[in-house]
Amino acid sequence: MTYVATIRVLPKSEVRDPQGEAIRGALRSLGLAVSDVRTGKEIVVTFEAASEVAARDAVRLMGTELLANPVIEDYAYELKEGAAV
C-alpha cells in the first residue's frame, strides 16, 4: 500500500527561534500587528507500508530518527493512503 505522510517539524516552544523573530520583525515593518512567528518545515514522504499501523510506525521512526531532533523540535503528521497529488 502506498501512503503519503505530511510531517511538520517546529522548534519546541521553549526553544528560541531566531528565524521566526526575524520574520516577525519584517512582518511588523509591513504595518501588521504580528505578535509571534514560529518557523519550521514541512516534509512530504511517499512510501510503501503493509498497513496503516505499519505506516504510522514508519512515520514515527522517520520523525524520531531523522526529521525532528527531540532535544529542540516537535513534529506532527498527517497520513493519507495513495500517491501524492
Binding site: 521553549e14 531566531p18 531532533n69 532535544v71 529542540i72
Partner: protein, 237 residues
C-alpha cells in the same frame, strides 16, 4: 604511537587540516576514513571534523547521524576510545546522542567567522589534560553553533562537570559580549559522562602552528602524543 582515524562524510571539509595539524604532534599517525566503510578497529582515537555534511539538510549533522560511520563511532565511544568532534563534528555528535544538547542557529542569525577566547573548565578529559583554567584563543566559523538544552539537561551537564570549554573574554571572564552565538551559559564545548567524547564549535586544527596565527589548538591535539599527554606543551610558541 597513537593511531587516529579522521572521519570524512560527504561535505566534510576540515579532515586534511586535522591530518596536517596531527602531523605536528610526536608519535601520532592519522588516516582519513570514508564514512561508508570506516572501520575503527586498531585506532585509539577518532576525530569528526568540521564541514557541511549533506549540505546541513534537515539539520546540521542530522543525516550524518544515520551514516554507518556514526554507528561505528558509537561502538568506539562505548568502548572508551577517544572521540573529538569540532564544529560540524560537534553537531554530528550531539545529533547522534553521543553528547548532550543540540546546536541551533546562532542568536542574531549571523554566520560567525572570527577568533574567540574560551576557558578550559575541565582537565579530566583526555583532550584537555593539564589545561584547566587555560584561556585558549581559537577560530570559529559557523552559523549554527548556539548550544541549547532543556533546564534539566543543562543542570545535569553543569553538575556533572561536562562543560569542557566556555566562551570568555581574553582574561577568562564568561561575559555575554564574549559569547559569539548565544550558547546557553557560554558553552563552547561539552563531554559525555564517560569523559572520552568531547565536542566543541571552535577549530583546534586551524590554530596549531604559529604561521596560522595561533597555537592553542596544538595544546589540545598534543594530548594525543603518548609522551606529552598530561603536559601543557607550547613548543610551537
Amino acid at each position: 604511537m597513537t593511531r587516529v582515524a579522521i572521519l570524512r562524510y560527504p561535505g566534510t571539509w576540515s579532515e586534511r587540516d586535522f591530518q596536517h595539524a596531527l602531523s605536528l604532534v610526536p608519535d601520532v599517525e592519522s588516516d582519513i576514513l570514508w564514512h561508508e566503510d570506516a572501520d575503527l578497529a586498531g585506532y585509539d582515537a577518532a576525530i569528526v571534523p568540521g564541514g557541511f555534511t549533506y549540505g546541513d539538510y534537515v539539520r546540521a549533522g542530522a543525516i550524518a547521524k544515520i551514516s554507518p560511520a556514526t554507528r561505528e563511532l558509537r561502538r568506539f565511544a562505548e568502548a572508551g576510545k577517544l572521540v573529538l568532534g569540532s564544529c560540524n563534528g560537534f553537531q554530528i555528535l550531539c545529533e547522534a546522542g553521543l553528547l548532550p544538547g543540540a546546536l541551533v542557529r546562532n542568536r542574531g542569525l549571523e554566520f560567525r567567522c572570527d577568533w574567540i577566547h574560551m576557558r578550559v573548565e575541565r582537565d579530566d578529559t583526555p583532550w584537555t589534560t593539564g589545561l584547566r583554567g587555560a584561556v585558549l584563543r581559537m577560530p570559529i566559523a559557523h552559523g549554527e553553533g548556539c548550544w541549547v538544552a532543556d533546564d534539566a539537561t543543562l543542570a545535569d551537564v553543569e553538575s556533572r562537570g561536562q562543560v569542557v570549554f566556555r566562551y570568555t573574554d581574553a582574561r577568562g571572564g564568561a561575559t555575554a559580549a564574549a559569547n559569539p552565538n548565544g550558547s546557553l551559559a557560554n558553552i563552547a564545548g561539552v563531554c559525555n559522562e564517560g569523559r572520552n567524547v568531547v565536542g566543541l564549535m571552535p577549530h583546534p586544527e586551524r590554530c596549531s602552528e604559529a604561521l596560522l596565527g595561533g597555537t592553542d589548538g596544538y595544546r589540545v591535539l598534543a594530548n594525543l602524543a603518548p609522551a606529552l599527554a598530561g603536559t601543557p606543551v607550547a613548543i610551537y610558541r
